[in-house]
């Protein structure tokens, strides 16, 4: 400890293995001030902009939101909310391409900017000392702050740690070439950054605070030194410029000489690292009650006329930033636009991708400055084992051997070679004379290993469930045998003596017979009876059951009759379909028509006019029936829910197929079950809402745990969506609600769950870094 401090005081630091010196190109942007951008027309705000979970939606399409208003709410510790970066109207909530290397789409809020830029009411805090630590942490969480350097780990989790902290390291290294966002932020807002550091100091109370900064930012060093002049605890540590000195583990090694054991977090060594931009965001959030809605983005590269750092609102599409900086891609056959730096950034498939909390750079290189960005993998030749990759690897891996194993998909060998310790920095691929995209091979291998591990976990679980089921079946079988034996004995006894029991048994048989008869009768007159029973709110379950039976029979009938039906019929039916106003009806009709068409293709058409006639008749009948039944079902379910909402006995109401006797985690299972049930329930509810738009009362009554508003949301959003997607969307929305409910049911579980989640998030962050 002493020696570490001595060395820090002497500005004599350690070094890490390897490292490279790619052309820095920071002069493109580091001389110009950060430019505030005018408001774009539309913002696209992804619900998830960090590692962890996405929050629950708080707004709906058509809502007008104010600047700084939260758009999502976090119920999970790993979720952080997103806020409206400016005032405007929400025009859509739909899937859109997000800032992720995969170019996949996720749920985004589309905000049409009204150019008023009206703030929500804010309560600035002038004195941090008046706040308790819990309040600060809560404020950080509510401001939606997640790590702004790399992977975007929720900050409030990182600062809410208990053990003694030796070092708080502020990562200002910014080792990636081209990027100067942190550099300029430090130059222009060093006071705010130091305020943020002070807040972190209050929260964590570390023994030392080290600011690690590379020596290629003299102005920022100056500014920081000035801002921290009076503070004993804070040391500005100027480290030599070398990529990747800004990696978490590398910076720790440089500043303290310590290594973080593989698979653990720095906190285990009493070290916490925060990015400078995060410090700035913290001070903004605490002192000015400004949530994280904008950040500095370096827009750079020689394909731009005016490369510059800008204050970009989160959600600003990349094309807006590029056009503001004079993007000129005329005469370029390929246009690589990279989000992040040239070493670890990813290229974008489209320019509608929005800026998110972790976006620190948009790079549009010209062919001349970065030919390899245009080549892709085409330049790859055979590895000659030159070993340069191993010389530059900051974690001292053997990239070359990893590459052979990754190509051969030899995962055990990859684990043996510690592939998981690779930080994806790209130094190896940067120096590879054979131009092998090493990092890409590792990423694929890592993803596949992760998937395999998940599959193994799943297999284990499946095995346990399978065994449990086998045991249960065995038990049931034994029980049944026992029962049969008893029954047989009882019957024998009854035969012998005409006891009252015998008559009872007889009556039971008679009752059963009667029931069957009743059912049959119901079959015959089902169209009318169920049609009637649906609108009338009967409280008896029997009707409901009847209706369902009827539905099944009707469907079966329809199926049967559909068999001989010719194809024309199906077409006719399809023609009739659009005229149906009720979407539900239409869908069922469509399904029936589909089934019919399928069947008619399978079987040779034996045609007859009477048959045809009959067929169409029953079709319409079936339509009506099905519709009515669906309604009835929904209502019955809703009712049931209402009655059993106060207690959690819903689970016992329904016979659940899976018994959890042998499962160790009984609570968790229950919760899950409840979630599924709730999902089904919620779905029925939603359907009902949709169908009979009038009764808000029912939904209000029904939702003790679930907020009425949300249910409405669900139904409304789903109506605007494409009807084909309805079931899908419904299910998803319902799942969200169900999750909430499940949580309420298993409050105890939540704590442990979140802990484990946190762990996995940590791991993910590490991987991402």
């Amino acid at each position: 400890m002493e020696s570490i401090i001595n060395r820090i005081n002497q500005q004599k630091f350690w070094s890490f293995h390897g490292g490279v010196h790619p052309p820095e190109q920071k002069t493109l942007t580091n001389q110009k001030p950060i430019k505030p951008l005018s408001l774009p027309e539309q913002l696209i705000i992804p619900l998830q902009q960090h590692i962890g979970r996405q929050g629950d939606l708080l707004v709906q399409v058509g809502d007008h939101v104010l600047k700084g208003q939260p758009l999502t709410k976090s119920t999970n510790p790993m979720a952080v909310p997103v806020h409206a970066p400016t005032s405007g109207t929400i025009t859509a909530i739909k899937h859109s391409v997000i800032a992720h290397p995969s170019g996949l789409s996720e749920l985004c809020i589309f905000l049409n900017v009204d150019h008023q830029d009206t703030w929500v009411e804010r309560t600035p805090c002038n004195d941090v000392a008046t706040l308790t630590n819990q309040e600060i942490v809560k404020k950080i969480a509510d401001a939606g702050i997640s790590g702004m350097g790399g992977a975007g780990f929720p900050t409030h989790i990182k600062v809410d740690t208990k053990p003694d902290i030796n070092f708080l390291i502020i990562n200002a290294a910014e080792c990636e070439p081209y990027i100067t966002a942190d550099d300029l932020l430090m130059c222009e807002h060093s006071e705010s950054i130091v305020d943020g550091i002070k807040i972190l100091n209050k929260l964590l109370n570390p023994a030392f605070i080290l600011i690690g900064i590379e020596d290629n930012k003299p102005k920022a060093i100056e500014a920081l030194k000035k801002a921290t002049a009076g503070i004993e605890k804070i040391h500005v540590c100027v480290v030599p410029t070398e990529y990747p000195a800004g990696g978490e583990k590398q910076l720790i090694q440089i500043l303290t000489g310590k290594e973080i054991k593989s698979g653990t977090l720095p906190i285990k060594e009493g070290i916490i690292m925060q990015n400078v931009a995060t410090c700035y965001a913290i001070s903004e959030a605490i002192l000015h009650d400004t949530p994280l809605i904008q950040r500095v983005v370096t827009v750079t590269g020689q394909a731009l006329e005016k490369p510059q750092n800008v204050w970009a609102l989160l959600g600003t599409p990349v094309h807006y930033l590029l056009s503001q900086c004079g993007f000129d891609n005329q005469g370029m056959e390929k246009t690589p636009v990279i989000m992040g730096g040239p070493m670890m950034g990813f290229s974008l498939p489209t320019d509608t991708v929005p800026v998110i909390k972790t976006t620190n750079c948009i790079l549009a290189p010209s062919y001349k400055e970065m030919p390899s960005a245009f080549e892709g993998n085409s330049a790859e030749v055979e590895c000659i084992r030159c070993g340069q990759c191993a010389d530059v690897c900051p974690t001292n891996l053997l990239p070359q051997e990893l590459q052979w194993s990754a190509k051969a998909k030899d995962y055990p060998q990859l684990n043996k070679l510690n592939l998981s310790d690779c930080i994806d920095c790209g130094a190896c691929a940067y120096v590879c004379p054979s131009h092998i995209p090493l990092v890409q091979y590792y990423r694929i291998a890592k993803a596949e290993i992760r998937q395999q591990q998940q599959q193994e976990l799943k297999a284990e679980k499946a095995k346990a469930r399978f065994e449990a089921r086998k045991q249960r079946l065995e038990k049931e079988k034994r029980a049944r045998e026992l029962k049969h034996k008893k029954a047989a004995e009882a019957r024998k006894a009854a035969m012998n003596k005409a006891t009252p029991e015998a008559t009872e048994a007889k009556s039971a048989v008679a009752a059963a017979l009667a029931r069957v008869k009743a059912k049959k009768a119901a079959n015959q007159k089902s169209p009318s009876s169920s049609a009637i029973s649906a609108p009338v709110e009967t409280t008896e379950n029997q009707d409901n059951k009847k209706a369902q039976v009827a539905a099944a029979i009707a469907r079966a009938k329809a199926k049967k009759q559909a068999k001989p039906a010719p194809e024309i019929d199906a077409k006719e039916n399809a023609k009739v379909e659009p005229s149906n106003t009720d979407s539900k009806k239409a869908k069922i009709a469509a399904a029936v028509a589909k089934a019919k068409a399928k069947k008619s293709q399978e079987k040779a058409p034996i045609q007859g006019q009477e048959q045809n006639q009959e067929q169409t008749d029953s079709l319409s009948l079936a339509d009506k029936k099905a519709n009515a039944i669906a309604k009835a079902k929904a209502k019955a379910l809703a009712k049931k829910q209402a009655s059993s909402n106060n207690d959690s006995s819903t689970a016992s109401d329904l016979t659940i197929a899976s018994t959890a006797e042998s499962e160790p985690a009984i609570d968790e299972k229950d919760a899950k079950k409840a979630a599924v049930i709730a999902k089904a329930k919620a779905k029925a509810l939603a359907k009902k809402n949709k169908e009979s738009n009038t009764d808000n009362k029912v939904s209000e009554k029904n939702t003790v745990n679930v907020e009425p508003r949300k249910v409405q949301n669900t139904s409304e959003t789903s109506t605007i969506n494409d009807t084909n997607n309805i079931s899908d969307k419904d299910a998803k929305k319902a799942a969200i609600i169900a999750k909430a409910k499940a949580k309420a049911l298993a409050k105890k579980k939540l704590a442990t769950q979140s802990v484990s989640e946190e762990k996995t998030m940590h791991e993910q962050e590490k991987g991402a870094k």
């Binding site: 055979e382 052979w404 194993s405 190509k407 051969a408 030899d410």
Partner: protein, 193 residues
């Protein structure tokens, strides 16, 4: 002492059983696809060959020669070797089930490994004394193990190589063994006994 040392060097390198005398090629090709297996096999073979050459010396000197039944040499050697191999197999099975499975058929096949019988017979032919026999057996097996382990490491590396299809697998392994033999020619004349 120097003689023994030279004998050892000669058997390990100069007259390497596998690459120079071409004995024991079956397990050399068979269990060299993984280093781990090869090392296991090496230990098993070292044990078997050393003990077999010791026992065969004893059997020859104290049974066959006094009783004048040298014509049964081969038979008695086979008996000795078979017992030692069986014993080794049991021990390996008990101590390391995975190694047992990895070695598979090659473990009992040490019995028919010509190197083992070869060691016993060559001992007899070169009129080695008790210690020489042991050293010869040990040296031969160490030489066998050395090239086996090296070869297995090479084959692991080769597993990822882009070998033309007709030469994949055993073919390229044979070529590699040939080239190794070529390299071992460099030891020719190193020790003059």
């Amino acid at each position: 002492m120097t003689d023994y040392l030279l004998l050892l060097v000669a058997t390990v390198l100069v007259n390497n059983f596998v690459l120079v005398q071409f004995l024991g090629l079956c397990p050399f090709m068979g269990v060299s696809s993984r280093t781990e297996t090869a090392i296991g096999m090496s230990f098993a073979t070292i044990f078997v060959m050393t003990v077999a050459s010791l026992l065969s010396y004893l059997v020859t000197t104290y049974l066959l020669v006094p009783l004048n039944i040298e014509y049964l040499t081969t038979m008695s050697f086979i008996l000795v070797i078979a017992v030692v191999v069986q014993f080794t197999e049991m021990v390996v099975h008990k101590t390391s089930a995975s190694l047992y499975r990895l070695l598979g058929i090659f473990l009992p096949l040490i019995t028919t490994n010509c190197a083992v019988l070869g060691v016993a017979l060559l001992n007899l032919r070169s009129h080695h004394n008790f210690f020489e026999s042991i050293i010869y057996g040990f040296g031969a097996s160490v030489g066998f193990s050395l090239v086996l382990v090296m070869f297995s490491a090479m084959r692991e590396k080769l597993a990822n190589a882009d070998v033309p299809t007709p030469f994949k697998g055993a073919a390229i392994a044979m070529i590699t063994a040939g080239l190794m033999s070529l390299a071992f020619m460099g030891f020719t004349g190193l020790v003059k006994l």
